[in-house]
Symmetry: C3
Subunit: 148 residues, 3 copies
């Protein structure tokens, strides 16, 4: 694990956790969008979901997700720092993500997140976010989020 | 996230985790009761369980829970600090809680905890504890814990 | 909780988390074996799996596990320090462990880990590792890992 000041490490862990709060607080879209840099790349293709290049893409995705879902819960564990150089950092975690769509369809995924952060003032903004499968994915993932 | 000394932040996270150990160690009631101030308010009404005002109430609840349950596991993740002012703090976490009753009935809930802590000597005591639903609740929650 | 420098506490938590990464990264056996001291004792008997005394034993176990499994995910939460004296430490955590065997059989366990670590240079090596049940264990645990 790279050398990193403890305060920074905790701030980065909190920032990954913050993503879960933002995406689980269905309805408030702007704070979730502001989690990312304008040009952030969100690559969910490894789990069969979109590759998104910049705000227009990820705004469309999340606004449709929020319209579609009644419940979200993302448990984040196994946090670690992959890289750190003072103004940027790469982090990783395991996530158990579950959701319930308005039509009652339910989804549970076991995935891994990687995030690249860049320091902007006293904040860490995510500029790259990938999701990888941990366990085989359920069919309901595509049914719920597939057609974005 | 409010500014807070790292030692304090970790102590508060440990204290939330400690609740899981105490409630999962079925049988030893007193250490669990001493987790709370005498006048602590435990409000579980958002998940259909009791509102408890002070030790007599929560002693009754937990002693009946311990009589009834053979297994408990509460996974706590997504810890964060909501407020801190030196002698008091408000914290939050996600909890995946599961239990098995002596009659074999099982329950799994996806919930959120908020806790208000007050410093007593070198310890943090919980004086307010709320549970909110994360995902829709199963019927077995009421069957197992409903009639307290 | 015993007094421990924050850096050390975080390093030990990271080390427990590292076990999950190593055991979930099916295929690379040596980094997993090097997680432990040569004479490490791994006692999984409380969940019906082997008691292993030293590297020959745990090498056999993990190499067979890796041959047999296509997917692994171990979520580690509820970390705490049980003991610390400068050059050794005892830690504890909850783990939700899941796996999928090459034959499609699946297993999900709710368990507790305890680990004893000893400092070797700037690293913490595990010299004792126990698994205890958290919830009743599924039959598929024995089917998948039983005959080591």
């Amino acid at each position: 694990m790279p050398s990193i000041p403890l305060e920074t490490r905790v701030a980065l862990q909190d920032q990954m956790t913050e993503y879960c709060y933002l995406v689980d607080n269905i309805g408030e879209l702007d704070p979730l969008l502001d989690y990312f840099t304008e040009d952030a790349v969100l690559d969910f293709s490894a789990i069969g979901l979109p590759f998104m290049n910049g705000r227009a893409d990820y705004r469309k995705f999340y606004s449709e997700v929020f319209e579609n879902m009644s419940h979200h819960t993302h448990y984040l564990t196994n946090f670690r720092i992959d890289a750190y150089d003072g103004d940027s950092a790469s982090t990783r975690a395991y996530v158990q993500g579950m959701g319930r769509a308005n039509d009652g369809n339910e989804v549970l995924v076991h995935v891994r997140y990687t995030m690249d952060f860049v320091r902007e003032g006293d904040q860490w903004k995510c500029r790259k976010y990938n999701i990888y499968p941990g366990m085989p994915l359920p069919a309901s993932l595509d049914e719920i989020h597939g057609d974005r």
